[in-house]
């Protein structure tokens, strides 16, 4: 699973259609997590599936979307840190842990032009954290398995 699989049809379908489509759909699922079915975990799994598809078609050594291992570990830690930030920010503002009632959202509503409550803003922060953690951990596990495989 480390070498490149040479097939024009496979490369065309995977690189031109599937991978950009899956990544865009994953980011849509993340951003619309409060409005439609989905959320951080699902979006992370979808984007990680796209990254694994690149690694399967192009080979593990020369994949286009290759991420170094240290950056992956940092991404997992950053995801957890974003989640903890979404939990500690209400503590600073004078509420309980993970109680988003007083997160300021007026600047965001003026910037984006949409009404959004403080609680949906807190949910969005948390889903971004889960997204980065899931993507980084799934890609990290695949890279380690492929690096230690014999063929």
């Amino acid at each position: 699973m480390n070498e490149r699989y040479d097939s024009v049809i496979l490369h065309f379908i995977a690189r031109v259609f599937l991978v950009p489509l899956i990544i865009v759909f994953g980011i849509y699922v993340l951003l619309h997590g409060e409005l439609s079915p989905g959320g951080g975990f699902q979006a992370g799994a979808i984007v990680a599936a796209a990254l694994l598809l690149v690694r399967l078609t192009l080979g593990n050594r020369q994949g286009a979307l290759r991420i170094p291992q240290g950056l992956l570990i940092w991404l997992a830690c950053i995801g957890l840190g974003v989640y903890m930030f979404g939990g500690i920010l209400p503590l600073i503002l004078g509420d309980n842990f993970l109680d988003y009632a007083r997160i300021p959202v007026e600047w965001y509503n003026q910037f984006a032009g949409e009404p959004r409550t403080a609680r949906s803003m807190g949910i969005f922060i948390i889903e971004v954290g889960v997204f980065f953690g899931v993507v980084a951990v799934l890609v990290l596990i695949y890279d380690l398995l492929a690096g230690s495989s014999r063929q």
């Binding site: 699973m1 699902q42 799994a45 979808i46 492929a146 014999r150």
Partner: protein, 81 residues
């Protein structure tokens, strides 16, 4: 309503699970498990649990199969029994 569709999907689910248990080649077992996960995702979407269906289709049918194939490529391909 469409109870016969759900019945057919349940039957296929049981059949794919039995095939995945009984087949010797482990790559074939992983492929059958992916089919099982996809059928389970379709069933969950029919039941109205679209969130769980998204997770099952992305994780169960996509990522888990790839990770299991990676684990098989580290060890032997055929099972002893």
């Amino acid at each position: 309503m469409i109870w016969w569709l759900e019945l057919a999907l349940f039957g296929l689910l049981v059949v794919t699970a039995l095939i995945a248990l009984s087949v010797r080649d482990m790559i074939a077992a992983v492929a059958t498990l992916s089919v099982y996960s996809f059928l389970a995702a379709v069933l969950l979407a029919l039941m109205g649990a679209v969130d769980v269906a998204l997770t099952e289709a992305a994780l169960g049918a996509g990522v888990t199969g790839v990770l299991l194939i990676g684990a098989i490529s580290v060890v032997e391909r055929r099972t002893p029994d």
